[in-house]
């Protein structure tokens, strides 16, 4: 189980790296075609923006642990372990509920965007934006699991450090 988790995490990391390389390379192409060839490709900007959108949601959904996020943890670090459990439980339950209740409306928005296509690449925007739904579902699943594990008695520290298995290769 753990092994499979680590394997999946490493693949998620591969995807993020591929997206990052894609963003970087298409942006460079844009600079190259604009300044060296004097004949800019139109699609490069859009390709980097799509890759960027996917990096943010893919990375946030699968790669960032609770600890990697920007957090204000002074009060959290200061209180006793018992209160920490309560704090952690409140925040993971609230996160799960908020993403779960807004999921249907988010699906409506994304699928409604099928009527539009991106400016130059002409990709249907519901495909481009679908990564948001992947992110939302990943967050719901992960934070629900966090909540269950904290309720069952695991300490929030070990739960939050866990991104589904082990650290990806660094």
């Amino acid at each position: 189980m753990r092994h499979a988790g680590a394997w999946l995490l490493a693949r998620a990391d591969n995807v993020a790296v591929i997206l990052f390389v894609a963003m970087f390379v298409s942006f460079l192409l844009q600079v190259f075609t604009r300044y060296i060839l004097q004949d800019p490709y139109g699609w490069t900007t859009e390709a980097s923006l799509i890759a960027w959108l996917w990096i943010v949601f893919w990375g946030s959904g699968f790669l960032l642990t609770n600890r990697d996020h920007v957090r204000f943890d002074m009060l959290y670090a200061w209180v006793r372990p018992g209160s920490r459990r309560v704090f952690a439980l409140i925040s993971v339950v609230a996160t799960t509920l908020a993403f779960a209740t807004s999921l249907p409306a988010s699906i409506d928005f994304v699928s409604f965007m099928r009527v539009e296509r991106s400016g130059t690449l002409s990709i249907r925007l519901d495909y481009v934006f679908s990564v948001y739904l992947v992110f939302a579902i990943a967050i719901i699943a992960r934070y629900a699991v966090y909540a269950i594990r904290i309720v069952r008695g695991a300490s929030p520290e070990t739960v939050f450090d866990d991104a589904g298995g082990a650290d990806p290769p660094r």
């Binding site: 990391d13 993020a16 790296v17 990052f20 963003m23 970087f24 942006f27 460079l28 844009q30 600079v31 604009r34 300044y35 900007t45 980097s48 923006l49 960027w52 959108l53 990096i55 943010v56 949601f57 893919w58 990375g59 946030s60 790669l63 960032l64 609770n66 990697d68 996020h69 920007v70 957090r71 204000f72 002074m74 009060l75 959290y76 670090a77 920490r84 704090f87 952690a88 409140i90 925040s91 609230a94 996160t95 509920l97 908020a98 993403f99 209740t101 807004s102 249907p104 409306a105 988010s106 409506d108 928005f109 994304v110 481009v128 934006f129 948001y132 939302a136 990806p168 290769p169 660094r170």
Partner: protein, 431 residues
């Protein structure tokens, strides 16, 4: 202020205070806001997706993160420091000057204080504390204070964020950072000079003249980077986002082909790390975009502007008040949170009071960067702890004089807008 907006604030700050990730707390609060006000819950998704997808300027953020990671992994930082040791290491307190000058040069290629502290800052700090040459607390505090210069001298990630929420020109903001960056370098150098004389800082053996050409040759391609970047942006040839891509490409060529310092594995690690950091920052930016939508639909900015106008705040009085508030918040909040969440509320008031948005932006960015060194929550103190093992408590004991110096510099640029605006005006800024 409506009932649902009060609920929004209570949930955002409540969840934030108990340690929930800020980006997720912003989403939870927005969902509650939309639910209570009976609006479409899909609006949160719409705002965050469209906001991230439609802003070209945002792309500068991941590209600058990538460039800085490359420079640190690809020994570019080390070469830069060897160069500075050869140039200023020979004076009394030489390593302290090396710390300042390396940060100054590095700031011309990187837009992040964290990258500065974790890269060149780590190397210089370790040199300073080796064999007990300098006090551990002093070395770490100096590194933290000089890292502040990183995002003030262009390029600058926080200024990109400010441009995003204020619609001020990113090019002029970058230019506006040059004066304040040099001012901070100067005051830190003067302070070091005084300490070096009074506390008899050590002198390093001067680098032999015969060695000099080699050191310069090795550092030269790296030194060229700020020149290329700045000339590109201010010659008007490239946009700041394009400059970020060029900086990253240049760093990549230097690290892999020229210095041959990056294995395939470490290059992968740089990409992976950059993707993660970008995702974390991108999500906070996304959360801030939802917040800006809510704040605007509640007409909060005009409420504020009305309040400050009715209270007959002078522009200077307003600037000082905002500075005090941001300094205070900087002790507890992350700089990106301040710039993306707190600052947009004040931008319309600035317009109403006739305060220049470039001046305001640069002052606020400097202020938020000071927040990175102020305990208890100073991100740079944590980074230095993690990379050098000098604890936050050790640094905290030595940081006070530096904070005072930085605040005085901040006060100077608040009261004398010319420190900020002189450079942009030379390039045609009318403000």
């Amino acid at each position: 202020m409506s009932r649902e907006f009060l609920a929004y604030l209570a949930i955002l700050f409540g969840l934030g205070a108990i340690g929930a990730p800020i980006a997720l707390a912003m989403f939870v609060a927005a969902a509650a806001y939309l639910a209570i006000s009976g609006r479409d819950l899909g609006l949160a998704a719409e705002q965050i997706i469209q906001g991230l997808f439609n802003s070209f300027i945002i792309l500068a953020v991941p590209l600058f993160i990538f460039a800085a990671n490359l420079m640190n992994a690809g020994t570019i930082s080390d070469r830069l420091m060897n160069f500075c040791v050869a140039i200023v290491g020979r004076y009394r307190g030489g390593l302290a000057y090396v710390n300042i000058v390396t940060s100054l040069i590095f700031s011309g290629m990187s837009g992040s204080a964290i990258a500065d502290a974790a890269g060149v800052g780590k190397i210089t700090t370790e040199m300073m504390i080796k064999d007990g040459r300098y006090g551990r607390g002093f070395s770490a505090a100096l590194t933290a204070a000089t890292a502040v210069i990183g995002p003030i001298i262009p390029p600058s990630i926080p200024m990109v964020m400010y441009a995003l929420v204020s619609d001020a020109s990113i090019g002029y903001l970058f230019l506006g950072g040059i004066g304040p960056g040099l001012l901070i370098t100067l005051v830190l150098s003067v302070y070091t000079f005084v300490l070096a004389r009074t506390q008899l800082f050590p002198v390093e053996p001067p680098v032999a003249l015969a060695e000099l050409p080699r050191v310069v040759f090795e550092a030269f391609p790296a030194l060229l980077m700020p020149v290329v970047l700045l000339a590109g942006i201010y010659g008007g040839a490239v946009t700041p986002t394009e400059a970020a891509a060029i900086a990253a490409a240049y760093a990549l060529v230097l690290a892999t082909l020229f210095y041959r310092a990056l294995s395939r594995r470490s290059l992968y690690a740089v990409f992976s790390e950059s993707a993660r950091s970008s995702a974390a920052i991108g999500l906070v930016i996304g959360g801030a975009l939802i917040m800006n939508y809510i704040v605007a639909s509640e007409k909060i900015p005009s409420l504020f502007a009305g309040f400050f106008a009715a209270a007959e705040f002078s522009p200077i009085g307003f600037l000082l008040a905002v500075n005090v508030l941001v300094l205070f918040l900087g002790c507890f909040l992350d700089a990106s949170t301040i710039i993306l969440v707190i600052v947009p509320i004040f931008v319309p008031t600035c317009k109403a009071l006739g305060i220049d948005l470039v001046h305001f932006g640069v002052v606020i960015v400097v202020n938020a960067m000071i927040g990175l060194v102020t305990p208890p929550y100073g991100m740079l103190l944590f980074v230095i702890d993690k990379t050098t093992g000098i604890t936050v408590a050790e640094t905290t004991r030595a940081i006070l004089p530096f904070v005072i110096i930085l605040v005085l510099a901040l006060l100077a640029m608040t009261l004398f807008p010319d420190i900020v605006l002189w450079t942009p005006r030379q390039f045609g800024y009318r403000g």
